[in-house]
């Protein structure tokens, strides 16, 4: 592993350990940054220590303790478990408890705004810089910096605890964490590959930390299976539909890994939304896909989530299975008028039923609503193909 990779791997764990020890995000972050800076300067010359993580945590801890000793107001504001002596570098800590779970649940606490949850998770667990996060979400650096400062201030002032929620709260709180990771993934899904990879890294860490939670494996499976087709999804600035994708550009390793995660989710009894979505994603990769099975799973998913978008997808699957009229009936009953996919799907269904005028009108409506350039181009092309028959 290169030094760069070591740092990326270790940032979250080191920071989590420090926050757990010091009870303060800012102090922990500063101390961690100092320790990593020293490492970056020293290790290329002297070689990395036997246990990089222990070295980093020990060094950071000692620096933080120094600061606290020198600064009385800091001392009063941070909670220290007990008075501690600085420890020597190599003797240091033999086992560093992994407090990344505590950290992720703190970052995703419902008392924080969703934007703040996302930013804080990426900063602390992902190790992204404020600059990188701002860029990823298309906001000015200053805005993102303020968001992070406010979030940390809220954690401190309101007393958000650094702990894994108790069992009776865990399902809801875990759902919030997974929602944050999925949000990060979806922001990346449209083309920002770096965020998608970041989400997968976070999901993988979660799966290590909570190996018995089916939805954690489910979410990771969804992300891996969808990300596997990233390279085949766009061509010439336009969307390439599943049936037309160049399968040689699919990442087989991701597919295998995703399916393994899906198996794990199912083995753990997973019937939640992520497990279902993963099963649906996996079925889409077969050639030809079993559309009836897919439609059945969409039905289950719709029952769990109550989402009309899922129903729309079910309609599409029903059409692919051959029942175009039924599909159109289903789609027409949905209340999703502001959603361009609805109109795009209607256009495709109407087209198959040779109702060309109506199909053209549906494409037009979709084109009014569509926002992404590749999707616009795709719709324009599909519409243009119909015009000679209109």
């Amino acid at each position: 592993m290169t030094l760069e990779q070591v740092f990326r791997e270790e940032w979250g764990r080191v920071l989590a350990a420090l926050i757990g020890f010091l009870g303060d995000f800012d102090l922990a972050e500063e101390a961690a940054q100092e320790a990593f800076a020293v490492a970056a300067e020293r290790w290329p010359r002297e070689g990395a220590p036997a246990s990089p993580r222990a070295w980093l945590v020990t060094t950071a801890r000692n620096r933080a303790l120094d600061r606290i000793r020198r600064d009385r107001t800091l001392r009063e504001k941070t909670r220290l478990l007990e008075a501690t002596q600085p420890t020597k570098d190599d003797v240091g800590l033999t086992t560093i408890p992994d407090e990344r779970l505590e950290l992720v649940f703190t970052c995703c606490h419902p008392a924080l705004d969703l934007d703040a949850q996302v930013a804080l998770t990426l900063r602390t667990l992902g190790g992204l810089t404020t600059e990188e996060i701002a860029h990823a979400f298309l906001v000015p650096r200053e805005t993102m910096a303020k968001r992070l400062v406010r979030a940390k201030a809220k954690i401190r002032a309101a007393g958000i605890p650094f702990r894994v929620p108790p069992p009776h709260r865990l399902p809801d709180r875990l759902a919030a964490v997974l929602a944050v990771v999925y949000l990060v993934f979806n922001e990346g899904y449209g083309g920002r590959a770096d965020l998608a990879s970041e989400a997968i890294r976070l999901g993988t860490a979660l799966a290590e930390l909570m190996p018995d939670e089916p939805e954690v494996h489910g979410l990771l499976a969804v992300m891996l299976l969808n990300d596997a087709r990233r390279d085949a999804r766009f061509a010439d600035g336009t969307i390439v539909r599943l049936a037309e994708q160049d399968r040689s550009r699919w990442d087989q390793e991701r597919i295998t890994a995703g399916r393994r995660r899906l198996d794990r989710a199912i083995a753990l009894g997973g019937t939640g939304p992520y497990a279902l979505q993963a099963a649906i994603a996996s079925l889409h990769l077969d050639e030809p896909p079993d559309w009836r099975q897919i439609a059945a799973l969409y039905r289950e998913l719709a029952e769990v989530t109550g989402s009309p978008v899922v129903e729309l997808n079910r309609g599409v699957a029903i059409a692919e299975a051959g029942d175009v009229k039924d599909a159109l009936g289903l789609v027409d009953a949905l209340e999703l008028d502001e959603y361009h996919y609805l109109h795009a799907a209607r256009a495709e269904l109407l087209r198959r039923l040779d109702r060309v005028e109506e199909a053209l009108a549906a494409y037009d409506r979709a084109l009014v609503l569509v926002r992404s350039a590749p999707e616009r181009r795709f719709l324009e092309r599909r519409r243009a193909e119909l015009v000679p028959y209109g």
């Binding site: 606490h109 008392a111 002032a157 309101a158 007393g159 958000i160 605890p161 702990r163 929620p165 709260r169």
Partner: protein, 119 residues
Amino acid sequence: MRYLMLIHQGDMPTPNDPEAWGRLKEDERQRIAADYQAINQTPGVTPGLWMQPPEMATTVRVQDGKTLTTDGPFVSVKEALGGYFVLEADDLDSAIELAARVPAARLGGAVEVRPVVEY
């Protein structure tokens, strides 16, 4: 940590509105009273005060040395406070657990959990 638990009545029926209050079943009214009593007796809770309805409030501002008063609360009547109490708790999660037990929270109102400034 200390928190001020600010109870907003919102749509919740209260004794201040005899008609709405009267529409509640007797056992519901008793449950509400019992819940508030239980909260007041919870360790860490310093019982506060119930205010008269928001319509009875007077809001005071001073502009250019002149005292201006308006009839009613600072915010809209729907958003106004009804009562408060002080809670000493380990952390926000404990405060939230208690806030959720306040009847107003489940009957159309809300509880704001505000950390107190400590010097």
